[in-house]
Symmetry: D2
Subunit: 341 residues, 4 copies
């Protein structure tokens, strides 16, 4: 068999572990050939690829980033790929394409699959918001980075009687905020799934101070929003040219809390630190299993599907299921965490 | 409601997170009272306990160990507890006992439950070998520690053309060896579930050297054993007094590989480093959820059960199911890892 | 001997290690008594203190923050302390005061010392900018946190062909930016000590891209400033109310680089994450040695001095020397780093 | 200028950082050429080398191991090198050789230098026992790894009322044991520099238990030895074939303490985990500075010298000084640590 593999979309710890696993299983396990397209679908369309043998993936298991590069996919060029998918498959002589990517990539994968290309997808997102799989690799690493930051902030907040607002990733789903908030013991957690009540947040902090705990940590997803009309800075800061500038919800919430509480509040914006670097052991194992099962699925002719964690097993689910809707935090999980506002 | 909580058995990162979560949910959520017995069942029998309020569990989420202490349970004294369980329950005025522990503790919990005590168990083991739950807290931390060690050993092994044998915990189940071996990219993995073939291990290393990779890392569970008759040191080292001494499989395997390969091999014994210290974010979240659901189960009168992770949910399963048999690594998972010998 | 100890100023990993070491050396080594004033000089003035014995400092070595609390010192109240220092010393029956703090605290310490109070100072700053000592504890931890962030950002930047701007602490001295920039391999470093040339930064990034390296990481101290007239956003962003808002040099530099390069640039603001949490081994050793030598100095009657690292030894230097001027990065060190702009 | 560089001796975090720094400074700073000999002096003698340009050292700053490999040096072949050093220098057209290594390597470097080869040495040892420099890179990483292990062991020991014996590296000098013992808060520290008194160790543990602290951690350097005649296992364990086996001082001390105390004692042998993997920020900065100054020294014609940290500066000291004697832990430092037995 000849397998094409590519990585597309944002960085995510574990991408290299999947590539390595695909190559190991295919080459050492099945005597397959593997080629890697560079910079995602761009490499597929423009003919930039290279053969991947065991040496090519040596030493990359624990490394962040992707040895194949990645790039944003433009809609037009994707349609071009779908229209020419038979030619592309023939041109590279591949029997299957294994794209590793997030919602956009899997939607593209589905488009190619529908157009007749043999495709096995591998879901990827630090946000853990892809449907059909219990977890995605990269998420555990992101939660770990955010949790370590909260751990460190707590001692500072405590020593200096401050409110700290940590903004973590998660534009549409609040998984990182939920789990790092729980793991770090944040006193308040704000998610995109539920507009937060600034009054309740203020009350919680005041009650803590009344109880003698003279600090608080709030963990807010970048996509969290206050309930309408409750925060003056709702629209962000408009600069002298009339443009809204780099002032996310973390910064605005800190400004607001400081104003209402009359106590110092400080924002911390972790940003891209959450999505790069060495993956945790958990993410390496999940990524490795995804790669292994993607190759097995290819050999079993299970096209149009993607790998998914279900309980302790890796199963194949239709790409359509993975991209049907975003997996957001359900009410029950918010209730469990106690501190979601 | 009045809740008694205790921790028993070996250390496990996340114990304090469960205790904290039980107290948070019970006190802040239900207005319950919580008391903590000291040193496991010993405290229950000897009347050593203390009230646990929010302040008592402040700042312990990320701390290893257990603020309640732990101790080995003696069979006789457990029977004593079972026989007097009505008196004990009455004496402390508790409506439920939440014991947090491994297989032995859960068996004891079941005995008390069968004798009429209202019990909700929380499973705990770094070995991940308790039946009925996808995972247990503590396991992720142990795998993380072992993986970091393998990461570090690889560069040393590579620079100096050596074979490294890492012995990790796991007397009866090889989960830690399997997952840290996969995450660290160990070239050989030996599990208690399958006697390993020393000849195959030797061949694998020789083939690596033949391919120009002048090092290898073998990850061996402390309970792994060679196939019968294949290793002279099978019985361990007998000292001048005729006693077998601290020479686990890791050391013996290194001796054997060095002899057969004619190349330097070095053992590393991580030991108790794997079972202490700050839990990973994953373990803190799982432990916190277990504690929360244990309290909910108590309020719902779901006695004789234990918390369990099933997919993404926490469910209550009968204690009997948890202790019926050890959850060992199935053949399919070994096959996936490729490098199990 | 009866010793008073206090911590003042911002959080700094290692404060608890100093407190513990003072108590260990004094109580176990000299049979002294130790009392700890709460919230810095405030506790000294307001009579808030507690005895510190071996149990009081048990388990705090590796913990961030300070068990004694800290608070900003107001000039007026300090003068009050200086004027009443004989009474204060008598009131608490202390033979020496050991204040642990930064430049402000050491200046206050000097004032008290000049007024006749027996004082032995311990310098503290994550910024490493106190004169008279080779290093201060807390700095190594801060550099470690910033370096790990740069490590993670590099793989993201590389995969996605971006420019990352990391803003680290250092208002007046650029030590953290210099060392984390060197340790993380940042391609550009901007320090408060030298106005940076935005043109040179742009040229460096363009040359990297021309050489096929399609990313760059710039590490900028919060106190770094562009050479006059070279950056339009020099004055920060003015909001709709005419106020400059939370938009540090990191954010502004990212905006500017993106505009000039026509490539995506992203800021990361680590903020207080750098000054809290578990200290590194290096900082724990240095803090422990400082505490030990402070007690010895007290017994030797070396008042008006502070502990200082000189080569491999701890020496006592006059407080006056420590606060005479800020220790900034000398030209030679910038030249060594190569990438300072 | 044409520069030859090689790494020899045991693995040490920071080797790659030195290589990278030499290449950066030489190529980008001076327009030099650099070649790297493979597997230490072997590559020099056998003609195995490769050119090192900026791309060759890209991405290696944070990586453990050495991209050039290393190998043990045989005395005879070294003498061969010394006898032919003029020919070797001419053969490769190098103007200077920069060997990076420990005592053995620096002795060899001195031999070559005395024989007329232009040599600039860079000292390397995780043990920190090279004379003439305040510190060596690799040491901080080793101490960090050992300290993290002690941190983890403490919670386990505390929960389970055990004595833990951690054996760390250091055959002739106890720096790693001293600093990780201090940083981890070990209750006992045993160094090669002073035969330890087992009776005092036993007494210390008993006093701790008497004070209600029901655990203890002892940190022992692999080269530590009990005072003569005080420990029965002094000679190690003799196996059934009459050979002493892998039973270092850590294991023997645990056996002895268990026997004398009547309490469980467990050994942990960290081994090579201490000498591999990603270097700390401290070690990367020191290694980078050493590389930079080695190139400058070469251009200044300062041959027969090695780089050394003195206070905050890098200075050049004669190779003879570096190898004259081992830098062991002085009495004063032991006294400071309080817990050295």
């Amino acid at each position: 068999m000849r397998i094409g593999v590519l990585t597309a979309g944002g960085d995510c710890p574990g991408l290299n572990a999947v590539i390595r696993s695909v190559v190991h299983r295919a080459v050492a396990g099945h005597n397959d050939e593997v080629i890697g397209f560079e910079d995602g679908f761009k490499g597929l369309l423009d003919g930039h690829y290279r053969p991947l043998d065991l040496n090519a993936v040596s030493g990359i298991l624990a490394r962040g980033g992707t040895i194949l590069g990645s790039a944003r996919l433009e809609r037009d060029r994707l349609r071009e790929a779908a229209e020419n998918c038979a030619e592309l498959t023939a041109k590279y002589g591949i029997d299957v394409l294994i794209p590793i990517g997030g919602e956009g990539t899997l939607t593209a994968a589905r488009m190619l699959s529908d157009a007749g290309m043999p495709v096995v997808g591998v879901p990827k997102t630090i946000d853990n918001d892809i449907n059909g799989t219990d977890r995605t690799f990269g998420f555990d690493t992101a939660v770990g980075v955010a949790t370590e930051a909260i751990d460190r902030l707590k001692t500072t907040a405590e020593s200096h009687q401050r409110v700290m607002v940590v903004e973590v990733m998660g534009r549409h789903a609040g998984w990182i905020a939920l789990e790092s908030g729980m793991a770090g013991g944040a006193h308040g957690i704000c998610l995109p799934e539920r507009p937060f009540e600034i009054d309740s947040l203020v009350k919680m902090v005041e009650e803590r101070f009344a109880r003698g705990k003279k600090f608080a940590v709030v963990c807010v997803a970048e996509g969290a929003r206050p309930a309408e009309g409750t925060m003056p800075y709702e629209k962000g800061i408009i600069d002298q040219f009339g443009h809204e500038r780099f002032t996310g919800i973390g910064t605005r919430l800190a400004v607001e809390l400081e104003a209402r509480l009359g106590k110092e509040a400080r924002p911390v914006i972790l940003g891209h630190v959450q999505r790069g670097g060495t993956p945790t052991a958990y993410d390496r194992v999940l990524a490795t299993r995804f790669g292994w099962h993607a190759v097995e699925a290819a050999h079993a002719g299970q096209f149009g599907k993607m790998t998914a964690l279900r309980g302790t097993s890796i199963e194949m689910v239709p790409l359509a299921e993975g991209v049907s809707e975003l997996k957001t935090v359900p009410e029950g999980r918010m209730y469990e965490a106690e501190s979601v506002f």
